[in-house]
Amino acid sequence: MKIIKGLLIIGLLSNMLLKLVPAFAAENNLTAEKIIAKSRLAFYYAGNDMRIKILMELINKDGRKRIRELTMLRKDYEESGNQKYFMYFHKPADVKGTTFMVYKYPGRDDDRWLFIPAINLVKRIAANDKYSSFVGSDFTYEDISGRKPTEDTHTLLREEKLNGKDCFVIESIPREASVYTKRISWIDKKTYLPLKEEFYDKQNELYRVFEALEIKDIDGFPTITGRVMRNVKTGHRTDVTFQDVQYNLGIEDNIFSERYLRRPPLKWIR
């Protein structure tokens, strides 16, 4: 009995050691760059494709609310590389039926197309405004589709718990002029999702704060289904809820084309 018990204990211990050692090694070896790169994969590249219904509430400091409701399709072409996005707007009423398509290339400016149903026009739109507001929200285009890790220098400041979750705290300083001068991210050690981000402006003052409010496991992918971006300087904030999240649906490549901009793929957008 004793022997068996002893063996069991050794077995358990070695098992634990086996699990712990690589974990420790990983933690010690993971540079800030690698953490940010892994976080970007978890945040922007989960699955091979994705379909979500996004509800955005744009709320000003007086509590007045505006609504943006859209369906977004995303397809990845290579891990951490090219992606295609398709968006269909349900609300507000005056933009209903508008579609928007982005070919995202991490190395250069996106290609973007907009379809305006009132005049049946597809037009290409200039895309080097990654810091412009996405549909009037507190999120920028870059917040929606990600930033290349090599655009910043990253430093692991510390490791700490945030809301009971172990996090890496990383400071990222843009290499080139940007709307922010510093970003501090709290990255969950388990899921690598950013739980909180702080953005500092040119006066080196905090102006925007991102927070993940709800995380769900969907088809094996931890997904931030509730999030908020607050502008602490203007008092404006944007609450975002992801509904009907689905991964690996096999969204066809040809969905991301002029054809479907003009005639939205009902199968996917409903």
Partner: protein, 419 residues
Amino acid sequence: MDKVKILSFIALTFIFIPMVFAEELSLHGFLQTNYSIRVADDNPQGAKQGNLILGEERIQLKGSFYPSKSKIGAFVKSDFYHDWVEEDWGSDFREGYLDFTDNKFGLRVGRQIYTWGVGDFLFINDIFPKDWEAFYSGRSLEYLKMGVDSAKLDIYSDIVSIEAIIIPFFKSDVLPSTGRFHFFDPYPTITNRELNKPGTTLKDTEYALRIYRYIGDLDVSAYAYKGFFRTPGMKADNFNSPSTISYFYPKLGVYGMSAQKSALGGVVSVEYGYYDSLDDQEGKNPGIDNSQSRFLIGYQKAFPDDFTVGLQYYGELMHQYRQYEDNLPSAFVKRKQLHQYITLRLTKLLKYQILKLSLFSLYSPDEEDFLIMPEVSYNFTDNLQAILGANIFGGSNINTALGQHNKDDNIHVTVRYSF
């Protein structure tokens, strides 16, 4: 139209139909008031309401029905309005079509709006009818384009995609009209004028074709059109001292291409079209536009903080210029062989895109005339929007495209509630 009928139609539509097909049916629209006032008191002859160029209350209703798993769908968009200039009620059936969609093709039959080409308010291969009066009097962009009763076949393939359009019912452009705008007339004393439109015959059917694809990171389209000019040509017994004039729409063929890509830190667009004046290929008839090459190059760049700049250069090169010069009647203005426009568009969004400031300007160096369109729009809520803008015309001559409206500078206001 009968007001009671309209109201009961609206009521029925809104109460019953959504209850039956909640998911597949959508009903939207807007209520709008839109006024445009001429700044100067020098009103054109026939002005019915003094300085008022446009004054109306309007409701637009649009409904679409696309059942799940069905290949068939339908869309209808119609306006009902009260016009203070004409002191009349009216309706405007803007669009209404049936869709049939399959894997490799789509067919759309009915009244539909088409917009082709890569120009910004400059149209080369977009030979579809436009309402310039709406544009010049400060109505929203969607009213520049008019629906055409037509059928369109889309063919989708990996190599190229095709839009093929047949238009059996000719529709002309709407030009600034008597009473609302000043315009240049070479023969002001002749009042009796006839207008002949192409008929609804096989011979007068219009055909438009667009072949397009994405090559690398370039959007490329090729276009062909056979039909008619949408602004009339003129027939006269004698162009130098006519006793009768009649208008007609000369035959036209257009062959062109366009390309657009991300480059130089923005978006670069080019477009070309050969305008083949089929009724006057020799260029000798002064009542018909000469054959031309039309081209444009555009550049659009976005800057941080929601600021966008767009620039365009546009040219029209007349092909039989010698014949044009030799046959030009004395009452006509002599045009340059190359007619050019330069446009500038500035757009700035503020306050989380609630406030939009924009400016569009069009200037012709050869005709020395211009149009400046500043505009401010404000979204009080997601549903309620107000727009204040102006159209400022200028030119050294009263007989050029924009110069003729020199006295028509106007300020316009729009308040729209969307639902």
